[in-house]
């Protein structure tokens, strides 16, 4: 028997990528298929070292097309699995984001974002894949995406990602960026029994009384694995409750509507939003990921110069929390959206607030984090 601790409890000084790997292990992930890509590679490098000592399996596949489906095969055997990538690999993985959405495979994708398009700046940060995470595969479907801003959050919210994927049976994206991935910091890994981990729950119904896509309670079907005697058939084709292909518009309407509503109807349960000093402010800065830490600092600097500024941080980016953003808008006079791209989430905010609400934007084309001074200036300009 091995001697390695499964959950590496203690205080560590590690980077965000390594914290993701430890978070996945703590969440019960035991199968990872990957393909090397900067700036995400440290995640799989760490997994490759840790897994043989804790009964996990890592395999480096031939490309991201393979990496993004190999672990799904393992998931249907009953284990928790994930893959890890960055922009160019993320593009290749979109095929199997769609498959996971259609098969309702509980699964996690880490994207340590770098500046694109194409090969772009492999070693530099960006937040340019936010819309791709939401819309990258063809067809209508819903996913969940979280964005951490520190190594500690990489650990904590990694566990959240796995829990959500088990609960809602949809692809869950952990949207880091190069800065958070390579940022070292203190990471406190609790005792295993102090970590809230949702286990895989398979159906208790006997063969003959279970259909893999029949919803017995709520809006998510009961999970199953191979070898339970159910003789399941799962297909990426539009299917009925039995899982059999159903080539008609009614089956499509029923299935795809549910794939979306099981996420959209549960925004309150899924969404994590952190707001500070929003009440009676002149301006609120909305941001996520590493940018939210910069915004925090910029807001302090602006407050020192008399600005009444609040901050809202989207830990959960998708599903977009319309209600929370509308509430922020109702309490302030202006909104600034800061993100490391040329305008992605700002359009979601605008959609929620309507065209007349004053929305301002601070962003760049990726490659470097946003200078806090630029955000300070925008806050002062807007709140003047």
């Amino acid at each position: 028997m091995g001697k390695s601790k499964i959950v590496d409890t203690g205080i560590h000084f590690i980077d965000g990528n390594m914290a993701c790997a430890e978070g996945a292990i703590a969440a019960g992930c035991r199968f990872v298929s990957g393909y090397p890509i900067t700036p995400s590679t440290e995640v799989v490098e760490h997994i490759a070292k840790r897994f043989p000592k804790i009964g996990g399996m890592f395999i480096q596949m031939e490309d991201e097309l393979a990496a993004s489906i190999c672990f799904q095969g393992a998931v249907w055997s009953g284990v928790k699995g994930m893959t890890v990538t960055s922009g160019p690999g993320f593009s290749l993985m979109m095929e199997h984001v769609g498959l996971a959405a259609m098969l309702e495979t509980p699964c996690v994708f880490i994207n340590v974002q770098r500046a694109g398009p194409s090969t772009g700046l492999p070693t530099a940060p960006a937040q340019q894949d936010i819309m791709q995470a939401r819309w990258g595969s063809h067809g209508d479907y819903e996913i969940i995406a979280l964005s951490p801003s520190s190594p500690q959050e990489c650990f904590d919210y990694m566990v959240t990602c796995f829990n959500l994927s088990e609960k809602y049976r949809c692809p869950v994206f952990f949207m880091l960026d190069e800065t958070v991935g390579h940022m070292h910091g203190k990471v406190n890994i609790p005792e295993a029994d102090q970590i809230d981990v949702r286990p895989r729950i398979n159906t208790q119904r006997p063969p003959g009384q279970y259909n893999p896509y029949e919803v017995y309670e709520g809006s998510v079907p009961e999970m199953v694995k191979v070898g339970m005697g159910h003789r399941i058939h799962l297909t990426g084709l539009t299917h009925d409750e039995k899982g059999y292909p159903a080539m008609n518009a009614d089956a499509q309407q029923k299935l795809v509507t549910r794939l979306c509503s099981k996420v959209l109807d549960n925004v309150d349960d899924i969404s994590i939003i952190q707001s500070d000093d929003v009440e009676e402010s002149d301006v609120v800065v909305i941001s996520y990921g590493i940018t939210s830490r910069i915004v925090e600092h910029a807001a302090e600097l602006a407050r020192a110069q008399g600005a009444k500024v609040g901050t809202t941080r989207l830990v959960t980016i998708w599903p977009f929390n319309d209600k929370a953003v509308a509430e922020v808008a109702s309490k302030t006079k202006n909104i600034i959206v800061a993100e490391m791209n040329l305008g992605q989430i700002v359009n979601e905010v605008r959609r929620v607030t309507g065209p007349t609400f004053p929305i301002h934007f601070v962003g760049n084309a990726g490659g470097r984090t946003i200078d806090p001074q630029i955000i300070v200036e925008k806050i002062l300009e807007v709140s003047r």
Binding site: F31, P52, M61, A66, R231, T235
Partner: protein, 284 residues
């Protein structure tokens, strides 16, 4: 009312999905018949047999076999099956797909699954065309043959599929035709019993989209061709079995035992980590 008798392998089929989608004369169904008989012959525990398909006419096989089965994405069944096979070492995972799915879009996954000697069986039904989408050219379409996307005849070199599998590292490789049902069934039983990457190419007629376009007659004409022209050469050097020669060489070409991916992993980790190594046992 005429009494409908049960087919001997009904228990292995999802009879609630019959009629199937395959055209009259198509060889995929014949290969499935051989496959189900091979399953019976081996006496497999059906809870430990999983069939994974890609996309296309042959890709529909997973939907008709009454075991846990997956109809995945085009060309990627092999990668899905790799994850499943590693997680269920006590199960047999079978990838059942067509020539376009496995040698074109899935070509990269095919060579790497073979290289790794993943413990799985691959049944590749080669009907020289993409049937599902209407008869387009594939890497296995013969020279000068017509296809909807090769309206003036195919001019690309043709894959020698068994040689590709052998060169990549497959440890059981055979080629049969759907005329040779007994030999094919026997090869399938051997493949199912084989530990490691086993690969069977099954030459098969596509009367609707390949033969008609090429004025090759009905399916039965190709069966007659297979009967009269196919030459059994067990152990043949696969470099010589390319179909472009005009000869149809069939038989069991390779059957060797080599450590599988899982076995190689466990050996390496035991050696490197000693007591610290904890083998992966899936969800056990």
């Amino acid at each position: 009312m005429t009494e409908i008798k049960a087919h001997p392998v009904d228990g292995l089929l999802r009879t609630d999905r019959i009629p199937h989608i395959w055209c009259p004369g198509c060889g995929v169904g014949t290969s499935v018949n051989c496959f189900t008989r091979a399953i019976e012959k081996v006496g497999m525990d059906l809870d430990k047999l999983h069939v994974v398909s890609g996309i296309g006419c042959t890709g529909r096989v997973a939907g008709y076999i009454n075991v846990d089965s997956f109809h995945t994405t085009h060309g990627r069944a092999l990668a899905f099956a790799t994850g499943l096979s590693l997680s269920r070492p006590d199960s047999k995972v079978v990838v059942y797909s067509g020539d376009g799915d496995l040698t074109a879009i899935g070509g990269n996954h095919l060579i790497h699954a073979a290289r790794r000697n993943v413990d799985m069986t691959v049944i590749c039904v080669n009907n020289y065309t993409y049937g599902m989408t209407g008869g387009q050219v594939t890497p296995t379409t013969p020279d000068k043959a017509l296809a909807s996307t090769a309206p003036f005849g195919n001019y690309e070199y043709t894959f020698n599929v068994p040689h590709l599998a052998v060169s990549s590292g497959a440890t059981y490789v055979a080629r049969w035709t759907v005329f040779h049902v007994r030999q094919l069934t026997r090869a399938m039983t051997k493949a199912l019993r084989h530990k490691g990457f086993s690969f069977i190419e099954v030459l098969s007629p596509c009367p609707t989209l390949y033969m008609r376009r090429n004025k090759l007659g009905a399916a039965v004409n190709l069966m007659e061709y297979f009967k009269e022209n196919a030459v059994v050469q067990d152990g043949a050097d696969t470099a010589t079995v390319g179909l472009e020669s005009g000869e149809t060489i069939i038989g069991e070409f390779v059957n060797v035992r080599k450590p599988t991916l899982k076995e190689c992993y466990e050996e390496r980790m035991s050696e490197a980590l000693g007591d610290e190594f904890v083998p992966y046992e899936g969800d056990k």
